[in-house]
Point group: C2
């Protein structure tokens, strides 16, 4: 096992507790970490082809060294491929190798890999253990923790999925060295979101250390990822199935964000970019409702811009975005549940937001 220094959080769920490890080079410890998590049998490493060959080989070797006979599959992992056809392809591969309930699926890649491979693990033989090895910043601070897995349907994103908690989340910061700058920014959007909704100190850290944060050599960056991971872990432990009022807060910026992704076509905006714009729209709504003042809106815009994130969208209409929000799966009884800021590091949900007010706020984030 890795030293406790790298242990960012322990997530408590109905499916058991699991460790989230964050550090440089921790992939080499995947074998002992999996054994410590009670896993044995074979490993089925399913990786984003973008991590091939170097990172995939290193993970493969670490698994074998740790005593896990390993089969490897690499796949194109992007929003367009995050569908049932790809899922069927992975089932086919698992079937060929007779993957069993005692074996472990290892998901290596960004958010798409975690979602898709996690969904396969949730449903193969009614559920097999999964280890998440997120390799993008967005997946590290957000998607890899909490067991939400899903794939897209032609009619909408993440409509099919499950809650399937991993047995271990292993985050090797070295994997970020090759991450394109734009994807790093997308990850910062989710991490900054954690500060905005739940942790004013984390928000301060992002504001005051933008340059240092974006250099991954910095210990501050690694510590800040760990802090962001902790927030996510606490939220998930408190509200595993998103039935309460806590986990839903993580959807800040996501109602309009999802609409932007759907209307502009998946892939045009990265998820984190769409969320950044969505957070700006949500801030506009909160300001119009008198929940926050213009200063916090400006402060949010400023920190997002410091991390090279978009704060406006182009090529879409307010009508199309608003229509798209109506099929968002967080709606209940037809009323959209908005996550809105009440102050720096504080958020709440509201259902009673007039559509005209939403329209005004949405128009404000659309480029002329």
């Amino acid at each position: 096992m890795t030293t406790d220094e790298n242990l960012a959080a322990v997530v408590s769920t109905s499916q058991g507790d699991y460790r989230v490890i964050v550090g440089r080079g921790v992939i080499d410890e995947i074998g002992p970490e999996m054994s410590a998590a009670g896993l044995s049998g074979r490993a089925f490493l399913i990786a984003d082809v973008a991590m091939f060959p170097t990172a995939v080989h290193r993970a493969h070797e670490a698994l074998e060294r740790g005593g896990f006979a390993t089969n490897v599959m690499t796949l194109e992992m992007n929003e367009r491929a995050k569908n049932m056809d790809t899922v069927l392809q992975v089932y086919e591969w698992l079937s060929t190798h007779r993957a069993e309930r005692a074996d472990t699926v290892v998901a290596m890649g960004g958010g798409v890999a975690g979602d898709l491979v996690g969904f396969v693990a949730a449903t193969w033989l009614r559920g097999v253990p999964v280890v998440q090895v997120p390799t993008s910043l967005a997946a590290m601070v957000d998607a890899s923790i909490g067991g939400k897995v899903a794939v897209n349907l032609p009619v909408g994103k993440n409509l099919v999925g499950a809650f399937h908690q991993p047995k271990l989340v292993l985050q090797d910061v070295a994997h970020l060295d090759t991450l394109p700058q734009r994807e790093m920014a997308g990850g910062f959007a989710e991490a900054i979101k954690h500060g905005l909704i739940l942790d004013p100190d984390l928000l301060d850290t992002f504001e005051k250390n933008a340059d240092e944060m974006q250099s991954l050599e910095s210990d501050l960056a690694v510590r800040t990822i760990r802090r962001s991971v902790q927030i996510k872990a606490e939220v998930v432990s408190a509200d595993e199935f998103e039935r309460g009022d806590t986990r839903v807060l993580l959807n800040y910026g996501h109602t309009i964000g999802h609409a932007i992704e759907a209307v502009s076509g998946y892939g045009e905006y990265l998820h984190g970019e769409a969320v950044a714009i969505g957070m700006m729209a949500a801030a506009g709504i909160a300001r119009r409702l008198g929940m926050i003042d213009q200063e916090l809106v400006d402060r949010q815009r400023s920190v997002l811009l410091r991390y090279s994130l978009p704060v406006t969208v182009n090529g879409v209409t307010a009508d199309a975005l608003i229509e798209a929000t109506k099929s968002d799966k967080k709606s209940r009884g037809g009323a959209i549940r908005w996550v809105l800021l009440e102050g720096p590091g504080r958020a709440a949900t509201r259902r009673d937001v007039p559509e005209e007010l939403v329209r005004d706020a949405v128009e404000e984030v659309i480029e002329e």
Copy 2:
């Protein structure tokens, strides 16, 4: 709610407790029963087209009368249709109607309906509530209870699925009035199995009252269904995820049974028929291992024959059946976990069964 007289069992699971109601005409109470189970929102009734129009209309009316605005979809439900294409068709329909997390899916039909619609409910929006309304005897006494849901892949049966507990199981014995005799027999196979592995008194009841049991007007038949339901409910409550040594006992006869279904092509033998033959093969294995004597083998054969069940298979080879058992998902580390009788109403699992001994027992149930 129905009277407590109709309450067969309460199943305790990590996803909450739920009632299993067994009685004649209880479908009319589905609305109050669903409300009592904490359900609200809309209902999406997905029924085997074989139940259309009379039974479907009656269920639809009962739902509406109970305050559940209801959409209805009917589908051909058979092993060949129990696949991902059909699942996608149901997702599409749910999407058209914007089915939400607060809504309830009602699965009405035999085992295929429960498995397929249950899997849709397990995965739509990461899981929505499902109510099981089994209309075949096999589904009543077995598949509708316990949350195991699945669909087939071209390479194997039930390879993709989930554990998704229902919120309510409502079994209207009147639905059996139109069930073909062959399917009734298939259901008796599962019910007799409960007696063989866990309840010598239930086995006696089946032996001594074969004629009366097969007339559904008899109160004894309804009480015996309730007893069989109770056994299943106790097993599920004790071992929800089939991790212990209890729930796996329900797979008695299923290793060879699944192999028969796979090798002969799904649909050639009903599931219960294949299980009956599989139980005869398993009894032959147990006898060869000295676990039981020939008398119990003959007693099992006799009771199965009394309920018009097959005890031998034709058109398949022992080699093909044994090969097919090796891809059975209950295997672990390659070794098949056999469920074998130790006596009337007592079963155990064994992993150390020599293949040659299995072959002898399998050959004994193959017709020349």
